[in-house]
């Protein structure tokens, strides 16, 4: 077979090279392609009943448990309902625990060859990672709203007006996205089991050493600086300020700085790792 015959046959068969109106790296194609892939990921997640149940029911049960076990104690110390720290804590925990799922999902699609398939097709290469980011944002939002609903049933109320309430919803989103970036980075470079287990443990430590579980003065003095300055504590402080009232500015800035820092540290490794996962 020489190239000429191939040319002839492909022309006869109508395989003339398609001149697309836009090249594959045009920004105009990026948006619809991202939306299509986002829809694909979200549909897959929605069909996975076990995971949906896990992401929504179990955190609510954990919230109830923490409220039962620690409610009195927190009320005795802060003279306000424990829900104003437990609901944010569980909303953040839900965002964190979901990030492991996202990372594993990515690795599964890498090993099944889907990433390489998309890589060789005329698809904008940024649309893959971007669609995951958007899908993750939707997932965190749904989880947070469900946690909020459960909290409202228990007696959680917004006292600071509509704008503060909407900002309250955005805090788990921002923090969850940063954490998902971190987990994805780890996932792209290490073994699968390790990621899931390590995320569970880190999540556990972040929950147990945050001001969402107990007020700061209940921790031993030597560990208080760690508890006060870790990202989950800042996020919870900001969310408490936005719902029950109190200082918002400085914890919010600290949350944003933490999230931005984590995300910035992960951007390049993710880009490199994603390319490697798609091309190997």
């Amino acid at each position: 077979m020489n190239p000429a015959t191939i040319l002839v046959t492909s022309q006869e068969a109508g395989f003339a090279s398609v001149r697309s109106q836009h090249p594959e790296n045009s920004v105009r194609l990026l948006v619809p392609q991202t939306l299509v892939q986002t829809k694909r990921i979200l549909t897959r997640w929605a069909r996975d009943l076990v995971t949906v149940m896990e992401a929504l029911v179990l955190p609510v049960l954990l919230m109830l448990t923490l409220y039962i076990v620690l409610g009195h104690l927190i009320y005795a110390v802060t003279h306000d309902s424990a829900l104003y720290s437990i609901v944010p804590l569980i909303a953040l925990a839900g965002a964190i625990s979901g990030s492991a799922f996202v990372a594993i999902d990515l690795m599964r699609e890498c090993s099944s060859g889907l990433l390489s398939r998309l890589w060789v097709m005329p698809v904008h290469r940024a649309s893959g990672p971007l669609s995951r980011v958007v899908a993750e944002a939707v997932r965190i939002m749904v989880t947070t709203v469900v946690m909020l609903g459960a909290g409202v049933l228990l007696g959680f109320r917004f006292r600071e007006g509509l704008i503060a309430s909407l900002m309250w919803l955005s805090v788990p989103l921002i923090f969850g996205m940063a954490f998902a970036a971190l987990v994805t980075t780890v996932a792209l470079y290490t073994a699968k089991t390790l990621v899931v287990e390590a995320v569970e443990l880190v999540q556990l430590l972040l929950i147990f050493f945050s001001t969402g579980l107990l007020p700061l003065n209940q921790y031993p003095r030597w560990i208080q600086p760690v508890v006060a300055h870790q990202p989950v504590s800042y996020a919870i402080a900001a969310m408490r300020g936005l719902s029950a009232g109190g200082p918002v500015g400085s914890p919010m800035v600290a949350t944003l700085l933490w999230s931005a820092g984590i995300a910035a540290a992960c951007v390049v490794p993710i880009a490199v790792g994603y390319r490697r996962a798609s091309t190997h």
Binding site: E54, L58, L61, T65, L66, I68, A100, L201, L204
Partner: protein, 286 residues
Amino acid sequence: MSAPAQAPTVGPSVHPSREKPRPSMREQWWVLTVRFIAPTLRNGELITAIGASVAFTVGFYIPFSTPWSHYVGGASSGVSSNLGQYITPLITLQAVAFAAISSAFRAATDSLHGVNRRFRSMPISPLTPVLARVSASVYRCCVGLAVSVICGYAIGFRFHRGALCIAGFCVLVIVIGAVLSFGADLIGTATRNPEAMLPLLTMPILIFGLLSVGIQPLKMFPHWIQPVVRNQPISQFSVALRALAGDTTRTAVPLTWPVVAPTLAWLLGFTVVLVPASIIVLSRRP
């Protein structure tokens, strides 16, 4: 080039008298167990097994130490000589449970990748891969137990009742771990969803742990939930372990039949449920 040497063909035509190979279940079990254990030494999973015990210790001890001395009191309260003595059984249970449920992750991965299906087509008893995964979990449980007891010593936990009770403590923890990992294995095999497994099973363990007398005395819980808290398995397990560990206070949990019986009843109950469940799950076509 010389002609390649004829590979010796082994088969019925050459050795008509040779019997069909009869694989021993014990050997197969060992090979499959090593298949699960060997990678843990290389890929860092041993680190998470150790890290889990340490994380549970610091996670339960440090945040609750101040409220404990404030609301429960020290040795004079009669509950326990110190928080370490009180809480270490729960920490051990959590660490072992965490190690046990990783069995579900492996089972789901095997199920998903068709490894189980391949095993089904080979002369292997359907129970052997399960037993191998459970054995691998028991190995992780042993690591978890050892590390959490060492961590327990660091926070003030001591055994007070002699060698026999120490052995009893360890055996009880490992048996609980084995039963849990058998159950987790079945769930993993049935659902074939590796990514969901660990979060799905960790949160219930945390919920049961927090809602148990392992973390604070029964009277600290709201009235309406006290019956549940008192009778749920983690509470009973931690009371039994506390009895086996002993204490220096006069009101230490005695090692008597009424204290240990509920634990054995729960374990028996789990087994009674798990055996038919395993028959259903394992006889299904993968």
